[in-house]
Amino acid sequence: MKPTDTKNPEYYHKVVDCQYACPAHTPVPEYIRLIAAEKFTEAYMINWESNVFPGVLGRTCDRPCEPACRRVRVEEEPVAICRLKRVAADNKGDVKKHMPQGPFPPNGKKIALIGGGPASLTMARDLAPLGYEIHLFDEQIAGGGMMRSQIPSFRLPEQVLNEEVNYILDLGIHTQFLTYVKSLKEVLSQDYDAVFVGTGAPRGRDLPKLPGRKEADAHIHIGIEWLANVAFEHTKSINKKVIVLGGGNTAMDCCRTSRRLGGKDVKVVVRSPFEEMKASPWEKEDAIHEDIEIIDNHVPLSFEHENGKLTGMKFQKVKAVYDENGKRQLLPTGEDDVFIEADEVLIAIGQENSFPWIERDLGLDFDKWNMPVVDEVTFQSTNSKVFFGGDSAFGPKNVITAVAHGHHAAVSIHLFCEGESLYDRPSPYTNLVSQKMGIHEWSYDSSVAIDQRYLVPQAKKSLTLKDRKKEVELGFEIATAYRETQRCLNCDVQTVFKEDRCIECDACMDVCPTSCITFTTNAEEPELRQKLLVPAENLEQDLLVSSELKTGRVMVKDEDVCLHCGLCAERCPTSAWDMQKYFYSVTKANQMSTAFPPIEK
């Protein structure tokens, strides 16, 4: 293999598994260390700079970082990254003074943001400090999009959302709430320099063809519409026996909300096997904890009713069968159909995009699924002035993805307004600094804790089920949070190898607790992977390969299960190994023109 090019900013970035997996590339280990040091404000600002909604995300993030966490590979359970974020938000001091302070000198450019969800708000935050005049339109009464209308208050208290939405709106954003945009053509006819569409995926799927759907309509609701009605207090109660159709997170929010509005006997009925439901495992656990029954492998057949009054639903029992490609089919088991009683049904089987307000003669192409054609790098549509981001761009995802889209699209809009190529994008900000403080002293805590993941305490069920606004999770106590921070392996503290210093004493290879390092003769990657002390079978993880050493061998380090314990560097007599902290930050629109580096402790 060729020697690894560690100058490529993505090499060390990829070693930081959590950060790499995070759509916004939040510098996770950096803020975890700050939490350990009780520097909550700084930890919050690292997050805010990157993901804009630390308090919201510390409670609700889909946390793609956690399954990616190295701890999963060396132990089992990931670091509770998401819930540590909340600790920063809960305990922070005055953060506002660290945020950009308006009013900003206008740059004469005007941008329209349609929809007030996380994608648009991120865009607003990134562009406002550059002097853009930003007009944000949303049909709801306040900003936040689905974070407000969909995510229930028992998971995300309103004041947490309001606080973080207001940090952005206070930058001088012109808001027009309770304003549904009916025509993009009309918006384009005004003097905006660019338009951003962050309208989400607002339409819930229905089962229009299922027998009884029309007749029993009074007691059948679309999940996301019903949740919005609850959030905006148009709906205040539900009948006792509830069926929720679907197996995703929306279904989990529907059933748990039902329990709080009067539902006593709440069942989630899903087509797929329990293990394959789309809902996150923790959402399922929480639902079960609230006495909700999850019935899997049941396909809805009909809504049953008497004189227009819903009495229940009929289901066919199925089982999952897999072909040799692993493709799943749900085949009837042949057992009798099942009738489940209900006096209210919530349909939570997915969302769709819908753009009735976008005229089709604006040079803005739609594909065969009726989705706008959007560039995956620039987020520009085929109408050069119109950009998309969040759920509206490529279908429903989650808040952190919407935030990441917002950052990218803001860079594009800024380049567009400056007349530059949208493909001439700024490189990330990176910094690699030795952590050496003395002969064997590091400025990070290199010891590896064996503690298992700590659980976040929850409020008593008897209290939370009575009040839909009562937050279920209480958040970590500071002392528990500290212990959880110690589980983090500091994956950003890189093992940097300088071959010209190596005397090949093998000390690093001998000491490495997880057998990451091998000195061997070089070979092509597949063969080299097999030649290591323990064959490097996880192909998703890279090999760090040195150039040829004096004895003709190369040093190969499998990044897979390195604990970043620093022992290799401590046992190296010549400092050929060094532990160096790698800071990687996606460059945001507001950091492009100024030399202002991202907020770093």
Binding site: E441, I503, C505, D506, A507, S515, V534, C565, L567, P573
Partner: protein, 350 residues
Amino acid sequence: MSYLKPQFKHPKLPKNKIGYTIKEYEGPLSTLCAGCGHDSISAAIVQACFEMSVEPHKVAKISGIGCSSKTPTYFLGNSHGFNSVHGRMPSVATGASMSNKDMVYFGVSGDGDSASIGMGQFVHVIRRNLNMVYIVMNNGCYGLTKGQDSATADQGSKSKAGSVNPFQAIDLASLAIELGAPFVAQSFSGDKQQLVPIIKAAMHHKGFAFINVISPCVTFNNNAGSTKSYDYVRQHIEATSTLDFVPEMPIITTKYDQGKSTKVALHDGSIIQLNKLATDWDPEDRVSVVNALQQARLKNEILTGLLYVNTEWNDLHGTLKTCKTPLNKLTEKDLCPGEEILEGINRNFR
């Protein structure tokens, strides 16, 4: 500075025949200097024991005093150990072996520990042919007491402080062969490929097995001009050959390209040469080995690999005709078989 090794191991670490991973043969984190050759030898012992699937509780490590003698603390953490007095490891090992002959004994010593203060013990343990693996971690200096020249420092070798050693070196391998050691090998801490199979063979050898391992002291004897430095020995790594050891078969094979040797110029212009064993060399013929060692010394060469092996000589237990059961397993009943038997024995003397 880390004092504890993380407890995690590679999830796919291979297991040996008795179901252990190499971790079960390791010890706590070494406190020797970073890069000390001794740590590599420890790692080679760990590797050999893992590959041989020995049960850790059937191994005892006995050592004297010195950095080298400290190493047993850092390997085979699940085995028995006795860190004895300077130069007195052989007598402690003899006592242990006498009481329980069913164990694998590793005697770990240094060049100071064996070639100076412990020379008398070294000589006599060979003479008695105690069944053990005797490893000298040879760095040509007293590492623990800050690097004074030891008796194995080569004449002309330069210390870190710049002084040149005026005395002749004691060649422990030649001495061992001269004294009748039935297994004598020489190796380098930086060449595990060669060292691990030698250790495995030594563990299998019944009788005294001596391994002299050149092991650079990075702190006090790794300077230019030293004949025991990494730089100096590294240039020979490619030239040395590996030795295969197949535990199932009693045959020990040496696989060397014939007569190849590498010359290395020393700081003072002298030449040292590292030889591979030639095929006309018979590791079972003591005369040919002594001859080769003498030749090598004349030419300033270091021979590595398994130099000499003789499987015919009786070990100490054989010579003393001790009983089959280890002495420490004899019960009171075995030792005091009763008045009647005593009477019988006494009758024989009347």
